[in-house]
């Protein structure tokens, strides 16, 4: 077999994202150690490796289960849509449950683990397996007393797998201060993958990291991954980087006056747009207008809502003359509403990827992304959003992110972290003057176009969104009041003047 090839060949796992991180898959004819704590997804990863091998690459596989019975295993992965029984009937998959119970075994004198070798060898030969999973072989250490025999036999086992050119996954429990409890990493020198399952503030996040991959480039970050009904998907894909194409096509924001501020034509297709503002300033309305306009052009639009239900949103939008129902009925407008705190941040973003892949939209709105920022420890958010933006740009999807600025803070400061990945940034802020609260919109930045620097009144009318006049003066007293209430608030940039004189452009 192919045990001694000079160049490093790779065997695709078929697991979404993992093959990208590893630049093509696991080392062919070698053993990969997958370690992680209990419940981190080792077994599922191993089983996916085999099932994809069978279904997608025509490579039969053997699963040696040291912990679960065949029945348990089949039930546990049935939720991922794998019919192990059928694969076994087809002679593509062999499952062998190895049961070792220390208390039931008496040991006396010399022995070896040839029985295990024979079982594995017989299963491999019967179906012509190319892939093998041993899950988790560490059970041997708990089940048998003579550790030196086990260690010698493990060394022999890994050599045996290699000699037969089998691409194998061996799983191991995460140990204290070591990758695996019994130091399996010292036998497996070629590739080590670490799975992690953390719970922070009651939210679980799963992460995967390629600790080691001899002779190959690989992504070194911790990648969040999702275990969903379609199996494991590792959240891509920093490898996209900045190589995506930039379109010169422009698309309308849905508000004619706003398009006017954006060098008359609107946003670039495939760009990322941030709409930030304080509560109740009309961010959702603006984003829904944007989506509806896309639908009117015959494009597919996808709305991720993290605060309101679809019904509530549709009802509220009808109050400003936005009738969304026809577009929902035509299946151009899609909603995906979920509370971000019900999932970990990474799981959440991973599920966003999946929905986007399924719906295949032209325009997307995420409303709002603030909840991500509050629902996680902050540091990871930017890299996650960067990956999401890269992913969207690669697919030439124009995306509008809304962001709720907190009343207390400086309007723009909270957004600094994410602004660098946004191409356009619209700011909505409410303004008090002459005993009336109104809302102002301005374009803080819009890459690649000569955008307006005006501050316009933002009006929600029965007939949709309109922009009013330019604030030229008259915010002075209002600003003073605001400044007294919240010292850090932004004052200077907002335009100043006397008493409420607003002129039309």
């Amino acid at each position: 077999m192919n045990s001694n090839g000079n160049s490093l060949r790779k065997t695709p796992t078929g697991i979404e994202g993992l093959d990208e991180i590893t630049n093509g898959g696991l080392p062919t004819g070698r053993t990969t150690l997958v370690c992680g704590s209990a419940g981190s997804g080792k077994t599922v990863l191993g089983m996916e490796f085999l099932v994809h091998g069978i279904v997608d690459y025509g490579e039969p596989g053997v699963f040696m289960a040291f912990e679960e019975t065949e029945k348990d295993l089949a039930q546990n992965v049935a939720s991922f849509g794998y019919d192990l029984e059928q694969l076994q009937k087809d002679g593509k998959l062999a499952i062998d449950h190895v049961f070792i119970e220390r208390s039931e075994i008496e040991e006396t004198g010399e022995y070896d683990l040839e029985g295990l070798f024979i079982r594995l060898g017989s299963a491999v030969d019967t179906i012509g397996a190319k892939r093998v999973v041993l899950d988790t072989i560490e059970v041997l250490f708990a089940g048998l007393r003579n550790q030196s025999i086990i260690r010698a036999e493990l060394r022999r086992l890994f050599r045996w797998l290699k000699d037969r050119g089998l691409t194998a996954i061996v799983t191991g429990e995460r140990g204290d201060g070591a990758l695996s409890r019994y130091g399996l990493e010292e036998y497996v020198a070629d590739c080590v993958i670490l799975l992690d399952h953390r719970v922070t503030e009651q939210l679980s996040t799963r992460r995967l990291r390629v600790v080691k991959y001899r002779g190959s480039l690989h992504g070194t970050d911790e990648y969040p991954f999702l275990m969903s009904e379609s199996g494991i998907s590792v959240l891509p894909v920093t490898s996209i980087g900045l190589s995506h194409k930039a379109s010169a096509e422009r698309i309308s924001s849905g508000v004619a006056d706003l398009d006017g501020m954006l060098a008359v034509k609107g946003f670039f297709r495939g760009s990322s747009i941030l709409v930030s503002g304080t509560a109740g300033t009309g961010k959702s309305s603006l984003s829904m207008t944007f989506l509806k306009t896309a639908c009117e052009r015959g494009e597919r639009a996808l709305y991720f809502g993290f605060e309101e239900s679809t019904d509530q949103l549709v009802r509220n939008m009808s109050s400003i003359g936005l009738d969304l129902q026809p577009w929902i009925d035509k299946e151009l407008l899609h909603f995906h509403n979920v509370r971000p705190s019900s999932l970990g941040l990474e799981a959440h973003l991973a599920s966003i990827h999946q929905v986007i892949k399924r719906v295949d939209p032209n325009v997307v709105v995420l409303d709002p992304i603030t909840n991500f920022i509050t629902s996680s420890e902050g540091g990871g958010v930017k890299s996650m959003l960067t990956r999401l933006v890269d992913f969207l740009k690669m697919r030439q999807i124009t995306t509008m992110f809304t962001h709720l600025s907190s009343l207390g803070g400086r309007l723009e400061s909270t957004d600094e972290a994410i602004s660098s990945i946004m191409d356009s940034w619209l700011l909505l802020r409410d303004v008090e003057h002459k005993g009336r609260r109104s809302c102002a919109l301005y374009v803080l930045k819009s890459r690649g176009m000569a955008h307006s620097h005006e501050m316009r009144e933002f009006l929600l009318t029965d007939d949709g969104i309109r922009l009013g006049g330019i604030y030229t003066e008259g915010l002075d007293s209002a600003d003073k009041r605001l400044a007294a209430k919240r010292p850090a608030t932004q004052g200077a940039a907002s335009g100043k003047g006397g008493n409420g004189g607003r002129t039309k452009r």
């Binding site: 190895v98 070792i100 008496e106 040991e107 006396t108 010399e110 022995y111 029985g115 295990l116 024979i118």
Partner: protein
Amino acid sequence: MGEQNAKQESGQEPQALWLLKLYVAGQTPKSIAAFANLKRICETHLKGQYQIEVVDLLVNPTLAKGDQIVAVPSLVRQLPPPVKKIIGDLASEERVLVGLDLRSAQAVQTGE
């Protein structure tokens, strides 16, 4: 021993029959030692009421799964129930006797 064969030493008494299966992988020094040790122990303690079946997994690899054989040599007591398992070349007679429930563990501890 190269193939599956059964040795039978039948006794006259209607006592419980001991059915012992010895799993080996070819004629290795360990398997030869295990068989010799087992035979000696049975002759001493179970004369006339035991039956040894030697299973060579190199010949019948699929039989390893049924009795959950991982290590060889493995001795499995099929009868009388419950099933008992002893792995190794059966060098220590005392341990084999304990493993087969022929002698209590306490007796072994004082004996060792």
